[in-house]
């Protein structure tokens, strides 16, 4: 019993990080239908931004460090959109995908060259002390940092949801997703809305990166695998949907962790992806995605 709870807790922490990346994927996809393959690498850069800040300003507490890393990464996201994507917005979708892949490879190798190829860890600014009352209640190991990661991630997601569904800016974002050509006719600056979307998505990824760098580790190539995982999570949940990205992330993390725990760690990928394919066969447009209706 304790192991089940422990495993679910492990899954929650992993899922929270997946979700922070998947949200950026989903948002960017939502507004410009781009599978931003560079997003995993933006996450990586976010982590390294956190690392460099933590090394440079050893006095800086987490609540200052994280927003700063998010801000820097948001700027990077906006710059990438401006330089590499904007010109291709009207071109066929796939040329954008290839450009995004190129941007990703570029970022990986740039960081490798600039910061070094070593695996790094952000000196933890989170309390790693056990949460005594919870540990007693559940009988498993629970540390504050784990809870912090899960709750801050959830809070960021809730904030994002509120922005998208409760503000005019969010309405504009959803409108861009529906029909970006008409949006300027509403007096809305399309470029700005898209830039803001990239900024928010990148900032969330950076938050994920900073957490990841403390809870796990950082290396210049880590964005590839995590990016793919987050992409898969976003699609499973229904790409373009915020709730879907979160749900998909926790689901993917859950399936991964539980497969390892109760089925086979050897066949983790095989079983996890087999289950996910099965899921898509039952819900062909993801769990919360809009069904691809035959519109006539």
């Amino acid at each position: 019993m304790e192991t089940v709870v422990q495993q679910l807790l492990n899954a929650a922490q992993l899922g929270a990080v997946y979700a922070l990346i998947a949200l950026g994927y989903s948002m960017v996809y939502g507004v410009i239908r781009l599978i931003n393959f560079a997003h995993g690498d933006i996450f990586m850069v976010g982590g390294f931004a956190g690392l460099l800040l933590a090394l440079r300003f050893t006095w800086m507490p987490l609540w200052a460090l994280m927003p700063l890393a998010m801000l820097l990464t948001a700027l990077l996201g906006v710059a990438i959109e401006r330089v590499a994507y904007r010109r291709l917005r009207q071109a066929q979708r796939m040329s954008l995908v290839i450009t995004a892949l190129g941007v990703g490879i570029f970022l990986e190798n740039l960081v490798r060259l600039g910061v070094g190829p070593e695996t790094r860890q952000i000196p933890s600014r989170m309390p790693t002390t056990p949460v005594a009352w919870l540990q007693d209640a559940l009988g498993v190991s629970v540390t504050w940092d784990k809870l912090l990661i899960i709750f801050v991630s959830l809070a960021l997601m809730a904030l994002l949801w509120a922005v998208v569904h409760r503000t005019l800016l969010g309405t504009a974002m959803r409108a861009v997703a529906d029909d970006k050509d008409v949006v300027p006719l509403m007096g809305v600056n399309l470029n700005r809305v898209i830039a803001v979307t990239f900024a928010i998505g990148s900032a969330l990824a950076a938050a994920g990166g900073v957490f990841f760098g403390q809870a796990y580790s950082l290396d210049p190539y880590m964005g590839i695998d995590l990016g793919w995982k987050a992409f898969i999570a976003a699609v499973i949940g229904g790409i373009g949907s915020i709730e879907g990205a979160v749900l998909g992330s926790f689901l993917l993390a859950g399936v991964e962790v539980l497969t390892v725990a109760y089925l086979s760690s050897n066949l983790k990928n095989g079983i996890a992806f087999g289950l996910l394919i099965l899921l898509l066969l039952i819900w062909p447009s993801g769990l919360l995605g809009r069904p691809a209706s035959k519109k006539v």
Partner: protein, 342 residues
């Protein structure tokens, strides 16, 4: 105002005899030249190696073009099909068939090549058929995930089969291919794919890309057409895998993961979708770019060898920004265009 329509002509005969015989003759000639040690003298084996790799990549890219260019899907599992083919061929060549040394020198590799490549194509086609079936209900990015997931499953399963070396890789595969065989296979693949995309089947695939619902009300069984495309594309990916295994003599499961898939994708879109010429050009341009960078950096700034991986994506981005539809766009070179057209 309009130019008079070109006189309608039936499609010309595929030079079945001509092409097959010509290709075989070329292959035999190349093989003889290799055996006699002439080819390596004429052409630096390094270039010969690059050409061989280019050939195998053309097979991969052109067959993926069937799915991503003509059928209009975004399939992300091509390296998985390649892996299935590679392992099937490797198993047959290394474990079942006699070693090439026990066979006559010139004919031996050829005798071994035919069954191994056939097995590679059949195994990959079966995998493609399965994946094709699994994609019936989904479209777009959800379909991509199914293909990607399959790719990951394949790699993971191979990693768990100790009989084929698991993660340590499959060693001891005899070298049954070389430039000659790869060149012949590449030409035949292009000929077959060209024949297909210019037939009624090719038009059906394109129509599904353009408007699946309209295709359906024209009487097209979309699922069946998808299934055919997946099976054929996978078969050729398997062919490339079979060649690869018997050329490199060593394969590991991770050579066939999504990193390889993305490399194939990059070459495909660099060249241009729904264009066989683009597939050829994309592979050549990409290979040339990577090797030129390697050689230029090596010659002028050996200490900057790592910069290759920074410069190459930059070049890629620049190319895509200036040629958003890839190098070829949707156009075809003359010799690949259908006949009977202006």
């Amino acid at each position: 105002m309009l130019a008079p329509p070109p006189s309608p002509r039936a499609p010309g005969p595929w030079a079945l005899r001509g092409l097959v015989l010509g290709t075989l003759a070329l292959a035999v000639a190349l093989q003889l030249m290799t055996e006699a040690g002439i080819l390596p003298e004429v052409l630096n084996p390094y270039y010969l190696h690059l050409l061989t790799v280019v050939g195998m990549n053309i097979i991969l890219v052109a067959s993926l073009n069937l799915l991503n260019g003509y059928l209009g899907e975004f399939a992300l599992g091509h390296a998985g099909f390649m892996g299935v083919g590679a392992y099937a061929a490797a198993l047959l060549a290394a474990r079942v068939l006699p070693p090439p040394s026990s066979l006559p020198p010139f004919l031996g590799p050829l005798l071994l090549l035919l069954p191994t490549l056939a097995a590679a194509m059949a195994a990959a086609a079966a995998a493609g058929y399965l994946v094709g079936r699994a994609t019936f209900k989904t479209v777009g990015d959800y379909l991509s995930i199914i293909t990607l997931g399959f790719n990951m499953i394949i790699v993971n399963v191979i990693q768990n089969i100790d009989a084929v070396g698991g993660p340590r890789g499959f060693t001891g595969i005899p070298r049954n291919t070389g430039f000659a065989a790869v060149a012949a296979c590449t030409l035949l693949t292009l000929a077959v794919l060209r024949a297909l995309v210019q037939s009624s089947y090719g038009r059906v695939w394109l129509s599904i890309r353009e408007n699946p619902l309209a295709a359906e009300v024209m009487g097209v069984d979309v699922n069946r057409a998808k299934l055919q495309a997946f099976t054929i594309a996978a078969a050729f990916a398997g062919l490339a895998g079979g060649l690869w295994a018997q050329y490199q003599q060593f394969i590991t499961p991770r050579s066939f993961d999504y990193i390889k898939t993305t490399e194939i994708l990059v070459m495909l879109y660099l060249g241009g979708m729904a264009s066989l010429s683009g597939s050829i050009l994309g592979v050549v341009a990409y290979t040339l770019m990577m090797e030129l960078l390697r050689n230029l950096l090596g010659a002028f700034a050996p200490q900057l060898a790592e910069w290759r991986m920074i410069l190459s994506p930059l070049i890629l981005i620049l190319v895509m920004l200036t040629r958003p539809s890839g190098l070829m766009g949707h156009r075809e070179w003359r010799w690949l265009r259908p006949r009977g057209r202006s």
